[in-house]
Subunit: 261 residues, 2 copies
Amino acid sequence: MKTGSRIVAAFASAILCAYTGLAQPAGAPAGQQAQTRGGAAQVRSPEITPQGTVTFRLSAPNATSVLVRNTSGGFLDWPGGNETAMTKGDNGVWSATIGPLKPEYYVYVFVVDGVQTLDPQNIFHVRDGQRYGNALRIAGEFSRGYALNEVPHGTVHLVWYPSPALKLTRRLYVYTPPGYETGTARYPVFYLLHGGGGDEDAWTTLGRAPEIMDNLIAQGKAKPMIVVMTNENSNQIAAPSVVAPLPTSGPGNPMQGTAML
Amino acid sequence: MKTGSRIVAAFASAILCAYTGLAQPAGAPAGQQAQTRGGAAQVRSPEITPQGTVTFRLSAPNATSVLVRNTSGGFLDWPGGNETAMTKGDNGVWSATIGPLKPEYYVYVFVVDGVQTLDPQNIFHVRDGQRYGNALRIAGEFSRGYALNEVPHGTVHLVWYPSPALKLTRRLYVYTPPGYETGTARYPVFYLLHGGGGDEDAWTTLGRAPEIMDNLIAQGKAKPMIVVMTNENSNQIAAPSVVAPLPTSGPGNPMQGTAML
């Protein structure tokens, strides 16, 4: 057990060591910055009003240009344009207010001096293929459809299976509906395929299929069913965020150097 | 099905629309930049040699200061220090080379003009509590212990359960060993608790417990077992990257405005 024990101990230390860096200022008024013990300025971002107006903020005293970019896709345009310049306050905090936005689920990034950056105050990251962005949800009847609501939840299983055709062991996700584990009922199976750039993880973490299924089943709008979400890319054994694609993806693939395999 | 169908259609469009943005230059030599159709400069980062030397690169022609920071934790210090200034090339690409590093699993970020940024060329993101970083693995005997190797893999289940004590429905992760689904054997259960700042997701995505268990079981160093990974934070129904913590986390919590609940 030596190697395994060392590894477990190392990660336990990592998780514990991280704690002191996690303290958040309690009670800091919205939009004002506070100093953490580490000295980093903390601001609230995004701040969403009940009317759907969104204020983005970034502490960047040394930056010369900051903008916020809507990367949700063209069918979710922001009123006033999909790039908004942020303005610098006396305290070094850049901000911009947009909207009101209609109730939906949006993805955005910041661009700091030309470099695309995630919002350090927003823990909701989503991956769309090889790109990351921050998510925000404007509450409302429509966006409740893919929110985690107080309804029975299904289970998501991350399963490895042998593919004789590709001679690979590959990963897929399976959603089983509420009650699956405790009953003996048989369910229809829905194979939910991703689009270009997606993978077996896309429908669950970007597409929110488990929340959508939970909600539709709870409302009686869908029969309880099993949903199988596969990876359609023959050079991937799993999402590229987990394992680097096989070399057939081309010598220029920037991820080869960081293969987790 | 109207609402559900609209949502499914919207996300299908999102996933498809993303495709044109995903093209990577094929065959671009390491370290040289190429133009994508979108005009963004692409570089290779991190580039890891067989000897464990790592070169980080970031295209940031307009930045005035870029550094790379080791956020792995103190037990994984980098030789030469945990912050290394990157130098700007004529092409606007900043770079720094460190190491050789010992075979391990490291986490790092860039700091661009004072703003912490993830490496846009490295798709491996890891979350440590409320902080994100990029992961890189130096291949070697030790780090094989938590790599995804060609051994039988267990299944990870994302399960919601009722907590009578907290009067909440909460999420936990369960690892079942290879062969669990197809057999009738009973297994011991290992409750693997996270440290401060962690949650039910920490041991799987940051701590790589499923890969560690797969490897130990394959080597005969651990008995096949079920591993249950819970969330020890009584104000969380799930990891804060999935659902914002309940208001008991304090009025200053920067995530309240983006609640996915």
